[in-house]
Every structure is written in structure tokens, then in C-alpha cells.
Amino acid sequence: MSDDHASTPVAARVRRLEERLIAAGLVSDTELDAILDRFLGGASPVNGARIVAHAWTDAGFRDRLLADANDALPELDLSMRGGLREQRLKVVANTAARHNLIVCTLCSCYPIGLLGPSPSWYKSEAYRSRAVREPRGVLAEFGLDLPADVDITVWDASAESRYMVLPVRPAGTEGLTEEQLAGLVTREGLIGTAVV
């Protein structure tokens, strides 16, 4: 899905829908382009990785991020204001005792601005239906065998909030700079299907 799909039937349907909306005077071409640009321009997991690396190195920021992520993001010149209304972001922290996993069982809600376009498996029926039911098995299929004593919380983004996981900082990274730390953070780590 994240590949170029300009010639697919879905793309053709979206183009027709856009034309109808424009013809009906509900939205203009310029407005649509501006929204798409705001929404997708700069949307990348690099943003999520920067947030994580900063939280790993600044305990105060970590606390503020977990308490109210929308309030904390501007400290890194980031925000959730890409769409029509600012989206609420909830950051959930992994610990030695608890692992967090993000899913949207009803569709594919996802913090695109911070994680980039979502991977195709995130939108698959298999992931959406199985993540809430048997997360430990799903994680094992992703190559993540969690110890039996680590509890799991699955966050179903079924309404207007978007979620991001704050992974545990890997051992032996004390000497790394914030930029080097950010380089360790993967998109899967931000969804919870991997650790960092």
C-alpha cells in the first residue's frame, strides 16, 4: 500500500471522488492539495524516533510526553495539527514488566505524521483481528518472543486518539548521542511489534 499506486483502481476511485467533491463546490483543488501537503509533507518515522530519543535523554520531557503528548511535541517543533482538527496523541511507555502494542481494529487509525504512512500489514484484517485476541502469538510471528512475565496491553485506537509506543532504551547505549539513539528507533518499535 505504501508503494506508488497511482494507476490502481483505488487511486482512480479517489480521483473520481475528488472531482465530484470539487464539482459540488464542497472543496477546492487548492484546499485539497494544501491539506494533503500538511498531512503527509514531512510525515516520517524519523519524527517518532526523535521524540523517543529525546525522551530517553531528558527525564522531564519523558514525563511531560507521557502526561500530555500534544503539549510536549512543540518542544521538538512537532505537532498533531496536520488534519482538520488537532489529533490527540497518547504515548504509552514500555517497561521491563509491560509491553504495549498499537492496533486499530475498526480501520487503520495511525499517527501518520510521526510514523509515516502505515505498513500494509497494519491495515490487514489478520493483524487487526488477531492483535487484540492473541498479541503474544502475533508478536512471536514478528520475531519478538516476550518473556512470560511481561504483561501486554493492546491499545485499540477506535476513536479520535492516536497512539505511539515509547520503547525501552536498549542497554549499553549510555555513550550515544541523541541523534545516534534516534537512529536505533524503528517504525515497528513505535507500533510495538518490535523492541529497540
Binding site: R88, K90, T105, L106, V132, R133, E134, P135, R136, D151, I152, T153, V154, W155, D156, A157, S158, A159, E160, S161
Partner: protein, 111 residues
């Protein structure tokens, strides 16, 4: 748009509506007719049931993060699942959590 006041606070036991309405709705099927615990009040948003049907003044309601035990949802599993639910999808659950989830009463489904 009139905004509904919050009926629940963190820690409240709530039951979800068991009825699957004919119209659009964002209460996942697997979480219908279940008892969970409010974790957080997230803020208020227009009710999608009204928005999608084109109701001129959609209800604006609090949305809650509600935590469910996997064992209650699926009869198995040691994890927990949180679901984000509009206030209309919830009703108070009077009884405190029992130690045996299989015996937990689900009350007031037709308040």
C-alpha cells in the same frame, strides 16, 4: 452543538452496549456487552453515529479509554485491551470486579 457532561471518571466500572445498531457505530463488535474499567477521560468529540448519518447537530460526547481483561473478552489470554469509546456506548456497571471473571454480572444493558 450541545456537549454532554462526563458521566464517568477513571476507575469506574462500565458496561458496553450489547445492541448492534443498524447505523454506523464505532463500538467494536468484540467489545459489545462487556464490562471494563475507565482508565482516562480523553476529551470530547462529535458522536460518529450522528456525524455519518448527517444529523444536523451531532451529539458531542466525552470519549473514554476503557480497559478490558482479555479473559473477559475472549475467555482466554492474560493481556489487557483498551478501547476508546464514546459515552453513548457505555452504561454504569454496578458490581465491583469479581475474582472470577466468568461469574462477573453484566447489568443494566437496557438502562
Amino acid at each position: 452543538m450541545s456537549e454532554a457532561a462526563a458521566r464517568f471518571v477513571a476507575g469506574d466500572r462500565v458496561a458496553t452496549q450489547a445492541v448492534d445498531p443498524d447505523h454506523h457505530n464505532r463500538l467494536p463488535r468484540y467489545a459489545r456487552g462487556q464490562v471494563g474499567e475507565v482508565v482516562e477521560v480523553q476529551g470530547t468529540w462529535p458522536l460518529p453515529d450522528d456525524v455519518v448519518r448527517g444529523v444536523p447537530a451531532p451529539r458531542v460526547e466525552p470519549v473514554y479509554t476503557v480497559r478490558f481483561a482479555a479473559r473477559d473478552l475472549w475467555g482466554t489470554g492474560g493481556h489487557e485491551v483498551t478501547v476508546d469509546l464514546w459515552q453513548s456506548y457505555l452504561i454504569p456497571a454496578r458490581h465491583p470486579p469479581s475474582t472470577d471473571a466468568s461469574l462477573e454480572p453484566v447489568e443494566d444493558l437496557h438502562e
